[in-house]
Symmetry: none
């Protein structure tokens, strides 16, 4: 039994390692240019071995997506304590995003891979049942926060929160998509981040109830 457990552990470790290498490659060349050959080489395994762990390219990509989403959610949960105000939860969400994006690019991968696998998702996302578990969880979380902000009188009460969630996500998604397409060597995270931060602030200002003090939305220096 100890043996079979160790086996299991090792197998999982290798699975992870493969996913990790694949992600690196996605960041470097984009999903569309990712080949199984690349993955194998980077993982220092044979192509055939990759197929032992993942039954196909699509499956591998899905796993990447799930894993990244899981990582993001865990991060988010670990930061978010209960009893936060809406605006603080939002800042928390943002910090989690920045942390992951700036450091490990998890978010980038989620969105890029997902848009590759499920073209056109974002617009149907909330209604659709085709979302993977983890991704749905992210969406739900975000929507809850936006609702809370409305309840707390910070966001315009007439704001369609489903739409607002989609907007925020597609904004992120787009940043990611664009960032992912910048050749790895000339990608500068600081300026991309600045751009996204500005964008996010403006969108929040757009969500705000009239008369709300805009300095509330100075997310960047939070």
């Amino acid at each position: 039994m100890g043996i079979s457990e160790r086996r299991e552990r090792e197998k999982n470790a290798r699975r992870r390692a493969i996913l990790e290498r694949a992600k690196e490659l996605i960041l470097q060349k984009g999903v569309e240019r990712l080949t199984m050959e690349d993955v194998a080489q980077r993982a220092e395994l044979s192509k055939a071995t990759i197929y032992l762990y993942f039954s196909g390219k699509e499956v591998l990509l899905n796993e990447i997506c799930e894993e990244s989403a899981r990582t993001f959610l865990e991060h988010f949960k670990s930061i978010a304590e209960n009893g936060l105000t809406g605006i603080n939860a939002l800042k928390c969400f943002w910090r989690g995003y920045v942390k992951l994006f700036g450091h490990s690019n998890e978010m980038l991968i989620i969105f890029e891979v997902r848009s590759f696998l499920n073209p056109g998702q974002p617009f149907v996302l909330l209604e659709s049942e085709s979302n993977t578990e983890q991704v749905s969880a992210i969406l739900d979380t975000l929507k809850a926060i936006i609702d809370q902000c409305k309840d707390e009188g910070i966001f315009d009460p007439g704001l369609d929160s489903a739409m607002a969630t989609r907007l925020v996500l597609s904004m992120f998604s787009n940043s990611m998509y664009i960032a992912s397409r910048i050749p790895a060597e000339s990608r500068k995270f600081s300026s991309i981040l600045e751009e996204i931060t500005n964008t996010f602030r403006i969108v929040l200002q757009g969500f705000a109830k009239e008369g709300i003090d805009r300095s509330l939305f100075d997310i960047g220096n939070a």
Copy 2:
């Protein structure tokens, strides 16, 4: 003489037809999945014939992009009279966009193809000289309008107009990208448009100087 003119006309017509079919395919499957074989089949021509009109895939994509951008610009110019206020120019821009997007998807294609040909453009767009003529013209036009809105006291004077241009465009671009990836059969333009309209309104609200009446930005029913 009549003959050679007719020839010219027919040749142009065929060129156009090919571009048209290619655009349809891009809308259906995305640029990355577009093959010359596809284009040929859809255009009911042989692959070799396609190469008669376009010397390569890249050239064809570039033409699509240029053509679409030209169409958009013409549309825009035909609507825009001189002496418009910033906000009206913005509405005009929007109307042009909606008209083209809702009916012929021109914009969608510009952005998708461009992002395929020049990965990562949007972040460097304004500074870069690598923009094609037509696309640059769109960018310049939009930036001028945003500047005007700042001058007229509608937009926050602290707004970075280069950034704002990038934001608007990447927002559009993203809508387009997403819309393009929805399988043609389940794509509903009305709801996509509504989504984009809302998004646009929110972004404008985000640009607004504090205290400006938000009803100004009810672009949709303009």
Copy 3:
């Protein structure tokens, strides 16, 4: 009738013009890289028109070959008077060759095209009936000269004159082939000619009867 004659004349002129352009191209890129498109463009005609004058690529190449051979023969005949000694005829042959090769490259084309059309010809040339008329004539002429040199006691009486003809021709052919493959821009006729001249002299020395004064074979400064 005057009209139909003029027609005929014009038709021939055009035929010639096409062949001329094709030859230029062969010199520049080699037969194997010659395309009908190229020929048409260079001749400022449409591809279809080329097919009006020549029923196919092979036919066109054959014509080129015949024409060049005819030109060479004419040249040769115009120089060669009757009553020449063998060695003088040889020099004459050589002068004709140099003149044509150095100036118009006729010879080059004959050999290159022929080796493209009839692979392996040279070795079977003399026995074979598949030689075109003109080419056969060149061969016969050369063989006659070699025979004469033997008769006149300059060449080794044991020399197999058929073989010797083949040798000379394949030597020429090879020079041509090599010359034709040098990119047109870096081709220097003077040095190629020098090389060929030396080669020719050595071969003649090899043909010589023992004891014959070698200065006889200083063809180059003839």
Copy 4:
């Protein structure tokens, strides 16, 4: 261990087999008509497999050339003992050539492929640094032998040995080229060989110092 060695051996064997098949095809149709499809079919493999062993057509051709040259050189070295007189070394060179040419056509392939890859080489051969290692070695070897013959008073002291090397090689090259173009079924090695032998003898006679006994150059029956 035994396994990985066997693998290595088999892999090399297959590599060789592919090269062998490619060479057969070159002999039959010439380099210019050689397609990867052909090679694959002849080797009873898929095209993709060929690309597993050779990263492209050019690489495959280069390998062929190198391999053939290596084979020739090895043969030459294995025959040539030290301390040979120039004329004996020449005969040795000749025997190596005949043996390889008559049996396996190695030489033929070297020259044909090389002239395809590096058009126009022969005239610049000796000066150029672009020669592959093996081919350069052949050239150097031959030139050394010719120099030795001059030193030993067999060849005309005024003979330009660089030129003479080029002459001999281009003579061989040409024989090869011609032979390669004879349809395989009608190619008769005996007569080709006889032709080349005669040619070689005559060229050597041409190189000879005046007064040298010609029977020295009866290479053929050596």
